[in-house]
Each structure stands twice: as C-alpha cells, then as structure tokens.
Amino acid sequence: MKGTALTWLLRGAWLAVTAALWLSPVDDWLDERMPRVMLLQMPAWFMLGWLAGRSRPRLLALVDPRGLGGFALGIITVNFWMIPRSVDAIGSSDVADGLLHLSLLSAGFAMSAGFPRLPFVAKAALAIQGTSMVFALGTFYSNYKALLCGSFSMAQQRELGGWLLRLSPLVLVWALGAGFRALLRESPAADAAPTVEPS
C-alpha cells in the first residue's frame, strides 16, 4: 500500500514538474537566455523523459528489444538541438520550442532503455566524448568572436561558454566516479566467473 502511494506521489510530482516546465512563465524564463536553454531546459526535459522511461521498462523492451534504436534516437536528438540554427529556432518560434520539449522527452524516454544495456566500454567512450564536448564547447563559446545563435547575444554566448568551462571539471569527476563504480560492480562477477582448464 505504501509503495503504491509513493508511486502515485512520484507520478504526481513528475506531472507537476512537466506542466510547470511547459507552461509560462517558467518556459518563457528558460527560453530567455542561451545558458538557461542549454544548461537547464534541455537537461531537464531529457531527464524527465529518462525518469518516465525507467518506470516503463516492459513497454520499451517490447518496442526496442536491444535498446539500440532508443540509444541512437537519444544521441541524435541531443545533437540536433546543439546545432546553432536549432537553438535559434527555440528562441524565435513557439512551435520549435514545443518540438524541443517533446523530442527531448522522447529521447530521454527511449535512451533510458538503451543506455543501461550498453557494455562498459561503450558507456566509457560516451562519457569521455561528453566530457570533452563540454570542455570544447565551453572554450569555443567563450572565445569565438562572432555570434553563432542569432536569437541570443554575444554576452549570453560567452556566459554559456563560461558556465560550460566551470561545469567541465564536475562532469569529469562525475564521469570518473561513475566509471569506477561500474568497474567495482563488474569485478566481483568477473572474479566469480568459472575458469575452464584446457583439456
């Protein structure tokens, strides 16, 4: 009974956060500045999708048995919204803004099935690529002399670059921590694996 109540409470909280993010004035506030779009809005929608996907593992297994489709969808959707023209569209069109919400929600939902099933090496490669991308984008946005996203301003572009540079050590620490944890989790299983003597 307690578990059911908690589940309903979590579902209610998820719905409340989703509605708050979608409706004005929170959405307008997030769309106003480039750092808010890239560092708050995009991760928030992706995480909401991820959480929704974690609660529906059977459905995802039915649609995407190995999780590869979801994994590809997640990576491609995130990369699509990193294109400067796409970022511009978020700031200038309500339709594009709505598409951002739905697509990242779907990407997080789909990727929640694929990512946990990936082998350690693939996860590590993704973490290394992600960490270096945060650092590279931070350096790029901080130093590039021209405006890349026309809906925003140079000041906001540099501010985003500064935030990405500040966040990159944290992302690195998190990626290393997650990597070590995964290694530790895998090692007892490896130790316990039966060895076959050559006959």
């Binding site: 190995r66 590869l68 489709g69 491609i76 023209r85 021209a146 026309g150």
Partner: protein, 218 residues
C-alpha cells in the same frame, strides 16, 4: 531471423536514416549550421551582382552602395545601439582601414551599413568617434523593406523582442562593377583580410576611373 531480433537491428538503422535526412535538410546538406551561413547560401554563390543598396550616409548624401563605381567597396552590417558584436566588428574594420590606408579611398571604400535606420547626425557622431576617415562611410539603408534587401545581400537579420537586432557580420567585397566577389567571415583576422584586399585591389589602376552610374557615390 526472429521478428524481435530483426526489429532490434532495423530500429537504429531507421532512426539514423531519418536523422540523416532531417539534419541534412535542416543544414542544407550539412553545409550550413547557423542562420547566418544559411542566409549566405540562400543568397547564392559568388560572384553575383549585389542588390541595390540605397543609403543615406553620415553627411546626409543619398547614394547606392552597389552602383558601379571606380573602386572596390567593403560592406558590413551594423547598427549604432549594438552592445557587443558591432563594436568588435567595427574595431576590426578600423584595423583593416589602418593597414590599407594607402589604398583608401582611391581603390577601396569601407562602408558600415546600419540596419536600424540610424539618422545621419548619429552616424556622423560615430564616424567622428572612429577617427572621421575619408574612406570609411557610415550609412543607413533607406527604403521600406531593408531586411529583405539585406537578405538578398546574404545577411540574416533577427529583430529581438528586447529591441536589439541580431545580424550577420560577414563583410562583403563589391568590385567596381557592383558584383560581390568575396565574403569575409567575422572571425577572419584583420591582417589576413587586409593582405587579401591589397592583392585584389592591386589589379585596379588608380588613374582609370570607371564610368560612374547615376546614384553612385562621387
């Protein structure tokens, strides 16, 4: 092959194929990733004739920047209230002007083109603040639809809700006939731009003056 295993292999391939089609279309075949570069692509390849650019300059004179002239013209968009991009771009233009002071204004005219209908008296104040160079004009586009004119040139303009105007900062080089022959990216170093401009304008004899069309700046 079992149906579910087949689905597992096809799903990612389908996603990737759709993504390539979508992103390819969105970026004009993976050639342009910003609205600025898309405006350049949509305006057409160079060399091409520049659209008519009727302006009023810091002296109150009206002329057409793209009309045939006796010199090359380097044109860059700006507006006087711009808080960040334009001051950087204009300081780069000032650097180019200093490096090419022997060619300006005899072979090259530099024009900062306002997209905000800045009046001549304010343009003159900015012109004086930048050293009142004879070969560097500051002018405002005149006419009802200046944004469409700039789009034909290859400049993307976005008028923000807060009143600021985001626009392309590429510099367009017009030859004496009024054709766009080079487009310089805003991140190009002034020294490199000056070197290329020196090379291009070297072919233009200083004494041979082209037939001036009505509307061209004397």
């Amino acid at each position: 092959m079992k149906p579910r295993a087949w689905a597992a292999g096809v799903a990612p391939l389908l996603v990737i194929a759709c993504a390539v089609a979508l992103i390819g279309g969105w970026t004009h075949g993976f050639r342009a990733f910003t609205n600025f570069s898309i405006a350049l692509l949509e305006a057409g390849p160079i060399p091409r004739p520049a659209p008519a650019l009727p302006v009023i300059d810091e002296r109150g004179s009206q002329w057409d920047v793209a009309a045939p002239s006796d010199r090359y013209r380097l044109v860059q968009a700006m507006y006087l209230r711009c808080p960040d991009g334009c001051p950087i771009a204009m300081s780069n233009l000032a650097r180019v002007s200093v490096l090419l002071k022997d060619l300006i204004p005899s072979k090259l005219q530099v024009i900062s083109l306002s997209v905000d209908h800045d009046p001549p008296e304010q343009l003159a104040a900015m012109w004086r603040a930048h050293g009142a160079h004879e070969g560097w004009s500051m002018a405002s586009l005149v006419g009802p639809d200046s944004d469409a004119t700039m789009a034909r040139l290859g400049v993307w303009i976005f008028r923000r809700k807060d009143g600021l105007i985001n626009h392309g900062l590429d510099a367009f080089l017009l030859d004496p006939s009024g054709k766009i022959v080079r487009i310089y990216s805003p991140d190009m170093r002034p020294v490199d731009m000056a070197a290329e401009l020196r090379e291009l304008t070297a072919a233009l004899p200083s004494e041979a003056r082209a037939e001036l069309e009505p509307g061209a700046r004397p």
